[in-house]
Symmetry: C2
Subunit: 142 residues, 2 copies
Amino acid sequence: MNPKQMTFPDPTDTEAAFYAAFRRLDIGQMEDVWLDSAKASCVHPGGGLLLGIDAVLASWGEIFRDSQPPQVEYRLIQTSTDAVLAVHTVEEIVSSGSGERRARVLASNVYRLVDGSWRMLAHHASLPLVEPHARKHQKPLH
Amino acid sequence: MNPKQMTFPDPTDTEAAFYAAFRRLDIGQMEDVWLDSAKASCVHPGGGLLLGIDAVLASWGEIFRDSQPPQVEYRLIQTSTDAVLAVHTVEEIVSSGSGERRARVLASNVYRLVDGSWRMLAHHASLPLVEPHARKHQKPLH
């Protein structure tokens, strides 16, 4: 892993850089955003658990490869912050570069303060398959 | 909301009580586990965001109603802990009471220390739809 180029004084800075890296398919900046740690973890929508920075960055490299830059918007729903740990709940709206697919994604983003900069420690994203009002008429497993 | 009955000196205690409440369909204990807060949030597998303790507990009430006690196992994959905030990554194996359905679920559980007890602040669960090795052969949106 290369030395970190950017410093993020607040978790919202890290989050902005994360979505900018996604939007630009910029794997270098994505590497900057993430904490260089075996504890880094990522769950893409519908995906399994990716554990450790190497697996996490490899997955983003795979997503970025041969892609058209997607449209990515996000809305911060709420935050919980402690001295060196922060958790954000975010709604993402992601459209593929071709514009064919558009998804509303829910994400839990976890940040850790290390050496004066907040880095992403975990990203857990999921795709709501069922509208809340429709859930009343069926029995979810959990 | 009733006064809290139980005290959880460690986030792992809260987590054990959360899964025990799920296993026993015990809404009273589930209420004890959760932080009584407008910031409490829950995402069930495939579900939308539930925000605020009332919406969160109502969803669990709905899941528990007329259900057979499910089999719920869980495995703590990793933890990140700060003074008053903790994030756990957990793998759950949930089987419906009838045994018809069995799901492997990934969850991010967030806990907050308030008045000497750790309470659940957020639960974000998702169902991996694609095996990691299968993802190499398709282009995920994200």
